[in-house]
């Protein structure tokens, strides 16, 4: 987290017990002040954690990134039973036409000659209706899929109004303290903000698109989620997400680093990590496919 602090001294235990979520905290000038508890902590001169991954340092070869994104999309599609939006990985990123409960095998083979027009999802067929299933997950996915497609398309065209409209349909959507839709938006926004210049064909930065997403979300979701999204739009992300973005740039053969980073991200929260990864992969797709909206990897 970009605004977290760990202290080693046990002597401060007393005052910290009064802390409640929502209290204002002031950080700056080497100090942390919590007025509600009359607490002022001087920070050591230790090097602060940098939440913005150093993407400029890597050589962002499009082919390497595309290949890694392809691998991760499949990996994520296999995780759909966990809840959240991971179930959309197949239809959204890999051109699958139907959602399946276990998503182990795509209903059609990875066929690069498949025509874009055939990619229409049919959710009604697929969802399990065994007792105790989360029927609402199907509903969640049904609501999110078109919005995510629209988001990617609008981003490619740099259509701010379209981005805002799509974000309005995703911010605050889904279970969790950071709703699934927000986590996906965060992954998407981080990629757009950090890699917009490196990976798009016109090499223009796209932070304004990320900022628009965060601004749209602000009134529509929990305070925590809105804050995290605002940071993501500045390229400031949780460590596992930052590590994954950097792992994308590892040379093509080094899959272990990539999958280890992915594993760490996917285990974040209940579904936050999976949802964020979906957003990351969608963002990469949006940056790379400037021409065709419904391209598959």
């Amino acid at each position: 987290m970009p605004n977290g602090l760990r202290l080693s001294a046990t002597a401060v235990a007393g005052p910290l017990q009064q802390l409640k979520p929502g209290m204002g905290v002031w950080i700056g000038n080497g100090m942390v002040r919590i007025p509600a508890c009359e607490l002022c902590i001087r920070l050591p001169t230790a090097f602060p954690w940098e939440p913005r991954p150093t993407v400029a340092a890597g050589c962002w070869h499009r082919d390497t990134v595309a290949h890694h994104a392809f691998l991760l999309a499949h990996h994520l599609a296999g995780r759909s039973t966990q809840g959240g939006l991971a179930v959309l990985a197949g239809p959204l990123l890999l051109g699958w036409t139907e959602l399946h409960a276990d998503n182990i095998y795509p209903p059609m083979l990875l066929n690069s000659s498949a025509k874009p027009g055939h990619h229409r999802q049919s959710m009604a067929t697929a969802y399990p209706s065994a007792g105790g299933s989360w029927c609402s997950q199907a509903t969640l996915a049904q609501m999110a899929l078109p919005a995510l497609r629209a988001l990617a398309l609008a981003t490619q065209k740099q259509d701010i109004a379209g981005v805002v409209e799509a974000a309005q349909r995703l911010a605050g959507l889904g279970p969790g303290l950071t709703p699934s839709g927000d986590d996906t938006l965060a992954g998407f926004a981080a990629v757009i903000a950090l890699l917009g210049a490196q990976l798009s064909t016109d090499a223009a930065p796209r932070e304004h698109i990320a900022a628009a997403i965060a601004a749209t979300a602000r009134p529509r979701t929990t305070m925590l989620s809105a804050t995290l999204l605002a940071h993501a739009a500045h390229g400031e992300v949780a460590e596992p997400l930052g590590d994954l973005l950097l792992a994308l740039v590892q040379p093509g053969a080094e899959h272990e680093t990539l999958f280890q980073a992915a594993a760490r991200l996917l285990s974040l929260g209940a579904t936050s990590g999976c949802d964020a990864l979906l957003g990351v992969l969608l963002g990469l797709q949006a940056l790379s496919d400037e021409t065709c909206a419904e391209n598959v990897y």
């Binding site: 760990r6 080693s8 959507l173 279970p175 209940a270």
Partner: protein, 544 residues
């Protein structure tokens, strides 16, 4: 169907809690669906689409719910089931708020060191293995709370290690580490440890696999271990000066269960060695010191009353003899002993004296092109020991941890003549598990060594015990068989020697692993020194 809901304003529960609450509600009989979501506009729409929106309930509220409010909704077969579900959901949330009150203690994982100690005030040891840059913080906290520390993590900055060890000594506590792979305290193994009986021999070690080899050989010879105290790999460096080793020696000297002490480490700096051996001289009990990989004459002058052993096998044998046991029972003792005793004996006579009939067969069939030994080690100390013995007999051994700087492998070079690789070294373990846990990298090198027509012998260590791979033979035996078959098809006899470090008591069982490896055609030795000498013999015999 009935839809009922409850609303909590300004709620703050983590996602996993919310998910668990919703799932718990859904699992109840009579409940068709349930949700626990923050009341954002879209979630309200979601609930509506799922048939879960509590219109009537929300209409009764003073103000409509907002994004920071929690809405729990259930759809059940009737009022009663819905009410029960909501009550259970609410209770679950309440227990999350004050876990100490409601939920049974064993289900709650403490989130801090202090909480863990409150739960179990008798705990006196912290085992820490988080990433090095943060591990020192945890270790410091543990020491300040009065706990001894086993610090498995490496990459702890040296200044931190100095500060931590100073603090530990001040407080009379043990800091085993950083980069401490093994310890056995009061019969309990920490880190990579083998199952060995209790007994009169105590070990103080700055080398994890060094400790493991010693404990296994001692156990095989029928004796046991009182304590094995790890000090961390850097303890005998100049910067640290052996502070924890000193403490470990003091403790063992005072311990009534310990009759003989063995000290093991990678070769220390001269200054530190001098200081440690000076302390050793003052200990009344017999002390054996082993620095595998060191030139045996280097420390002879300053050894004083400490007995210097050249190899771990000799160290184990010496310790056993001093404790009143029979050194000949140490595996590999005969081989190592005869090697040490011999001076100008020809290699052919040497290997005949090893009484290993299948070894003789292996020597006979090696082709002329095969000239080199390729050693693939997971334990650095075992690699050092092997390199010392091999180099004495067959010449320079190229390595990523060379005994001499000019024996270093060039970047990008895999093998160069006789080669010994420490695959547990940093450059091989970035972003991947250690070879003692994950065999992938070693299998890769095994295949490459087997393909190379210049390879005559492949030597590798397999370490058993807790934390190590649960069945290494299942992975290595097929690979070894495959390697030998491939070589045979090309007209080459490829010898594979395994230095197997483990005991019958280990989860993997020494005998089971040994049998599987031998069935695949490997020559298995429990003594790493004997394994290295066997490899040398094959090379020498081929040379004649």
């Amino acid at each position: 169907m009935v839809v009922r809901a409850l609303l909590q304003r300004n709620a703050y529960y983590d996602s996993i809690t919310l998910m668990a609450v919703a799932q718990a509600a859904r699992d109840l009989p009579g409940v068709e669906d349930a949700g626990a979501v923050m009341a954002t506009e879209l979630n309200c729409e979601l609930l509506r689409n799922a048939g879960l929106f509590p219109d009537a309930f929300l209409a009764e509220q003073d103000t409509p719910p907002g994004p920071s409010d929690l809405l729990i909704v259930v759809r059940a077969i009737d009022e009663m089931h819905a009410a029960i579900a909501l009550a259970i959901a609410e209770e679950r949330l309440a227990t999350r708020e004050s876990p100490a009150v409601a939920a049974p203690p064993e289900t709650i994982v403490p989130r801090s060191l202090e909480a863990a100690i409150r739960r179990d005030p008798d705990a006196n040891l912290a085992v820490i293995s988080v990433a090095g840059e943060h591990a020192w913080l945890e270790a410091e906290q543990a020491l300040r709370l009065g706990l001894h520390v086993f610090l498995f993590s490496d990459n702890v900055p040296i200044q931190r290690e100095q500060a931590l060890k100073t603090l530990a000594i001040q407080r009379g506590l043990l800091l085993m580490g950083p980069d401490c792979g093994t310890a056995i305290i009061n019969g309990v193994g920490l880190g990579f440890a083998n199952v060995v009986p209790r007994g009169p021999i105590g070990i103080a070690g700055a080398s994890g696999t060094g400790i493991q080899q010693l404990t296994c050989l001692i156990a095989a010879a029928g004796m046991g271990i009182s304590q094995a105290i790890g000090t961390g790999g850097r303890d005998l460096s100049e910067a640290i000066g052996g502070s924890m080793m000193r403490r470990a020696l003091e403790l063992l000297a005072d311990d009534s269960q310990t009759a003989v002490i063995v000290l093991v480490s990678k070769p220390p700096a001269d200054l530190v060695a001098r200081e440690i051996l000076r302390i050793v001289a003052q200990i009344a009990k017999p002390v054996v010191a082993v620095f595998p990989g060191a030139d045996p004459y280097r420390f002879a002058a300053i050894a004083g009353s400490g007995r210097m052993a050249r190899t771990l096998t000799e160290g184990a044998a010496l310790a056993i003899a001093l404790a009143g046991g029979d050194p000949a029972r140490v595996p590999g003792w005969e081989i190592v002993n005869s090697d040490a005793a011999s001076e100008a004996i020809t290699s052919r006579a040497r290997f005949h004296s090893m009484a290993e009939p299948h070894l003789a067969v292996e020597c006979m069939q090696v082709t002329l092109s095969q000239r080199y030994v390729r050693a693939l080690y997971s334990g650095g100390t075992l690699c050092d020991e092997a390199m010392l013995l091999l180099s004495e007999r067959i010449g320079p051994i190229a390595s990523n941890i060379p005994l001499y700087p000019n024996w270093a492998l060039a970047p990008g070079e895999t093998f160069r003549g006789h080669t010994a690789l420490d695959l547990g070294a940093d450059e091989f373990t970035q972003g991947r598990p250690h070879p003692m846990i994950d065999p992938t990298l070693r299998l890769h090198y095994l295949a490459r060594a087997a393909e190379d027509p210049e390879t005559a012998v492949i030597l590798l260590d397999i370490v058993l015990g807790f934390v190590a791979h649960q069945n290494p033979a299942a992975v290595y035996a097929p690979a070894i068989a495959q390697a030998r078959t491939t070589a045979a098809a090309a007209g080459r006899m490829l010898s594979v020697i395994v230095s197997l470090c483990g005991t019958e008591g280990d989860p993997q069982r020494f005998s089971t692993q040994c049998a599987a490896l031998e069935a695949a055609g490997a020559l298995v030795f429990a003594s790493n020194a004997a394994a290295a000498l066997a490899a040398a013999s094959i090379i020498e015999a081929n040379g004649q």
